[in-house]
Amino acid sequence: MTTLLHGKSRTADDSGTGAKPPRAPRKAAASRGGNRRYENLAALGFLGPWFLGLVLITAGPLMASLYFSFTDYNLIGDHQWVGLENYERMLSDSRLHSALRVTFVYVFVSVPLQLAMALALAMVLDRGLRGLALYRSVYYLPSLLGGSVAVAILWRQVFGADGLINQVLAFFGIQGEGWVSHPDYALGTLIVLNVWTFGAPMVIFLAGLRQIPAMYYEAAAVDGANPVRRFWHITVPMLTPIIFFNLVLQIINAFQTFTQAFIVSGGTGGPSDSTLFFTLYLYQRGFGAFDMGYASAMAWLLLMIIGGFTAVNFLASKYWVFYGD
C-alpha cells in the first residue's frame, strides 16, 4: 500500500536521486566543454530568486527575531541587550497565560472536530457519488477561503447580534446572543469557523481512502464483519498515516491562527480576552505596545511549543500509526 505520506517522500526521493544519474552519462557523452558550468548556471539562475527569498524573507528575519528576543527592541529606536528578561517576564504575564489557555482550547477542540468532519465527509464522497468532482470542489472551497479576511468579516456578520444565525433562531422564537461579542461564545464561533474549513484534510483523506484495497473489505464482508467493524478494523488502521499527517499539519496551523481572531474581535482579542490567541497577543505586544523584543521572545516560545507538539506527535506515532508494509 502506498500512502500519501509515503507517496510524497517517494517522489521527493525520485527527484533527488533522479537529478544525478542523467548527469553522469551526459558528462561521459558530452564533447563540448563547460556544459556542466552552463547547467550549474541555469540551476543557479532558477534557484536564485528562491534562495534570495529564503535568505531575505525567511532566514534573515528568523535570526533577527531570535536576536531581538534578547533585547528591548521597540520597533523604532535603539535597542539594548537584556538577556533573558523577556522570557522571565512571560512567567508573570497573566495575559500571556490567558492567551495560551485560549490557544490550547482552540487547538484541542477544533482540530479533532475538524478531522472527524473531514473524514466523515470523505467517506461519504468515497462511495462514488455522481458529480463527485463537483462536491469535492464545493467542500474544498471553505479551506481556501477560511483564513481570508473576507470570510472572517462574513463570520462576524453571520454570528453578530442581528446576524443570520440569530435571525434563523428568531424564526423559531429563540432570542439569540451576540455570539461573537459574548465571552462565553466568541471562541466557539472561531472553532466552528476552523471546523468549517475541513476541505483540505478531507481531500487528503479521500485520496487515502482510495488507496485502501477493496479486497480487504470484501474479505471482511465475507467473514461477516459489519460496517462499523470494517470502519474500525480496516479503514482506520489503513488510514492512520493520513490521519497522522493531517493531525500534524492541522495542529501546526491551529497554533498559528491569527486572521480570524484579529478580524472577528477587531484586533482586540475581546470580549474579555476570550479570543486572545497567542499570535494576536504577540501582535498586540509588538505592534500595539511597541514591545517587539518581548513579541520576538513570544514568537520563539510559540515555535518551541509547536516544535514540542510535533515531536511528541512523531514519537507517539510509533504506537498508533500503521504503515502497512
Binding site: P25, G45, P49
Partner: protein, 441 residues
C-alpha cells in the same frame, strides 16, 4: 529513470536558451522585488497622508487634497485612511517597516511615544514653509516634547454628552438641564428612557470605553487621570465610583448589555446608538457631532458632562483634537510641511474641514468659518465657547504608553460589563495595568 535521460537530450541542445530564460526569470524577480518605490521623473513630488475617521471625514479630506493639488501642482498627495481602531495598528506596522506616511495625524496619547522614538520630524525647523503664528496660544504648545515640536494641533475639542432630542421626545422624558444635572440624574434619565420605550431605545451608550470621560469625573473630584510626572493622579475610590455608575446603568437597563456594547464599540462613531437612532445619549468629542448628526439624520445636541456643579469643581477640559505630524523618514519633509501649512492656514481648507478636526486651532481660520458653519458645527462651536469660561485648567500631557490605555480601558469595561469584575476590582485592574503600561508602577 529512463524518462529523465530521454528528456535530457533535447534539453541539452536548448541549453543556451535555458540559461537565458533562467537569467531573465531572475532579473524579472529582482526587478519586481525592488520596483516598489519609484520617484516620478516629472518633478512632481508624491506624498502619502494618513488619517483616521468616519466616512464623512474621508470624503472631506479627499476634497481638501484636490484643492491643495490644484494650488500646488508640484505635489501630489495620496490619501491613506482607515477607522480609529485600525489606524494605530497600521501606523505602527508601517513605521516599523520604514514606510511611514509622509504626513500623518497624531493624537495626544500616541504623539510622545512616536516623537520620543525618533519617528516624527521636528516641525519647528521648517520656518518659511510652515507658519505657526496664528495658532491659539491655549493649545499651540501641546505638541511639544523637550523643545521639539512633533505635532501641530488641528483644533480644539471637548468631551461631552451627545443627546438626541427626538429620542427623548419619543420616550416622553424631558431633556436634562445640563448646567445642573448630577450623576444620579444621569443614571435615572438613562434608565427611564430604556424603560419608557420598552428597550426600543436605550438611554445611553456605555461611557466606560473611553478614559476621557473618567478624566472629567476625576477632575470633578479634584483629581486627574495623570499627574505632571506621568503617574496616576486618582484614587481607587474615585475610579470605583466611576465604574459603579456603569454598573447601575447595566442593572437598570439604561445602557446596552455588555455583548451589545462590544458590537457597538467595534463599529465606531458610525455605529453609535445615536447614529443608528437606537439610543438617546452617547459620549463623544465635540468634533464628532457633525458626523454623528449626519449619520443619524437628526439634530443631535451637546450637553455638559453630568456632575459639573455637584462636586468640588468642574471637570470638563479642552483638548487638542489631533495633531498634524510629519514622518522623520519622509524624503520630502519640506513639501510635507507645505501641506501641513495649507491644512492649517488656508481658507479653502478650513472651509472644507470646518470643525471636523476640532474647532480650528488657527484663530484666524476659526474666525473665518464661524459665520457660515452648518448647524451641527455651529452648535459645537457655540458649545465650546459656552463651556470655556467654566473650565478650570488644562491637563498635563499624557505619559508615554498612554496609547495602550485605550485597549486597557476597553478590556476593563468588557470585564465589568460581563460581570467578571466588580467595580472595585475593575478599578484595581485598570490602575495596575495602566501603571505598568506607562511605566509608573
Amino acid at each position: 529513470m529512463n524518462h529523465h535521460s530521454g528528456r535530457a537530450l533535447p534539453q541539452r541542445r536548448r541549453r543556451p536558451l535555458l540559461v537565458t530564460t533562467a537569467a531573465a526569470f531572475a532579473l524579472v524577480m529582482a526587478a519586481t522585488a525592488c520596483g516598489g518605490d519609484s520617484g516620478s521623473d516629472d518633478g512632481v513630488v508624491e506624498l502619502r497622508f494618513s488619517w483616521w475617521g468616519a466616512d464623512d471625514r474621508h470624503a472631506t479630506m479627499q476634497e481638501v487634497i484636490e484643492v491643495f493639488e490644484e494650488q500646488n501642482p508640484d505635489i501630489r498627495i495620496a490619501g491613506d485612511y482607515t477607522d480609529w481602531g485600525s489606524y494605530w495598528d497600521r501606523l505602527a506596522t508601517s513605521t516599523a517597516a520604514n514606510d511611514a506616511p509622509d504626513i500623518l495625524m497624531q493624537e495626544e496619547r500616541y504623539l510622545r511615544e512616536y516623537g520620543q522614538r525618533g519617528a516624527l520630524a521636528d516641525l519647528s525647523e521648517f520656518g518659511d514653509h510652515l507658519d505657526l503664528s496664528a495658532l491659539d496660544p491655549l493649545v499651540a504648545e501641546t505638541g511639544e516634547l523637550e523643545g521639539q515640536t512633533f505635532g501641530i494641533p488641528t483644533g480644539v475639542n471637548a468631551y461631552a454628552v451627545l443627546a438626541d432630542p427626538q429620542a427623548f421626545e419619543e420616550a416622553g422624558v424631558e431633556m436634562p438641564d445640563d448646567t445642573t444635572w448630577t450623576w444620579d440624574d444621569y443614571v435615572e434619565i438613562a434608565n427611564e428612557i430604556s424603560e419608557a420605550t420598552d428597550g426600543e431605545l436605550v438611554g445611553v451608550q456605555s461611557m466606560a470605553y473611553n478614559e476621557s470621560g473618567f478624566q472629567i469625573f476625576a477632575r470633578q473630584h479634584g483629581e486627574n487621570l495623570y499627574a505632571e510626572d506621568g503617574t496616576l493622579a486618582f484614587s481607587a475610590e474615585t475610579m470605583t465610583s466611576w465604574f459603579e455608575i456603569t454598573s447601575a446603568l447595566l442593572e437598570g437597563g439604561g445602557q446596552p448589555s455588555a455583548a451589545e456594547s462590544v458590537e457597538i464599540e467595534a463599529g465606531g462613531p458610525d455605529q453609535s446608538v445615536l447614529s443608528t437612532n437606537q439610543g438617546a445619549m452617547a459620549h463623544f468629542w465635540t468634533n464628532q457631532l457633525g458626523g454623528i448628526s449626519e449619520s443619524s439624520g437628526r439634530d443631535i445636541e451637546l450637553l455638559r458632562y453630568p456632575g459639573e456643579t455637584e462636586n468640588e469643581r468642574t471637570g470638563m477640559y479642552l483638548k487638542p483634537a489631533m495633531f498634524y505630524s510629519v514622518s522623520a523618514n519622509s524624503e520630502h519633509p519640506e513639501e510635507a510641511a507645505r501641506f501641513v501649512d495649507f491644512m492649517l492656514n488656508n481658507e479653502a481648507a478650513a472651509e472644507l474641514t470646518l470643525s471636523d478636526l476640532g474647532l480650528p486651532s488657527n484663530v484666524d481660520m476659526r474666525e473665518h468659518i464661524l459665520d457660515d458653519l452648518p448647524p451641527a458645527d455651529e452648535r459645537s462651536a457655540a458649545f465650546l465657547e459656552e463651556i470655556t469660561g467654566d473650565i478650570v485648567d488644562g491637563n498635563p500631557p499624557p505619559p508615554i504608553g498612554a496609547g495602550e490605555v485605550v485597549e486597557i480601558t476597553k478590556r476593563t469595561s468588557d470585564a465589568l460589563g460581563f460581570g467578571d469584575l466588580t467595580p472595585e476590582e475593575a478599578a484595581e485592574q485598570f490602575m495596575n495595568e495602566v501603571s505598568e503600561a506607562t511605566g509608573s508602577s
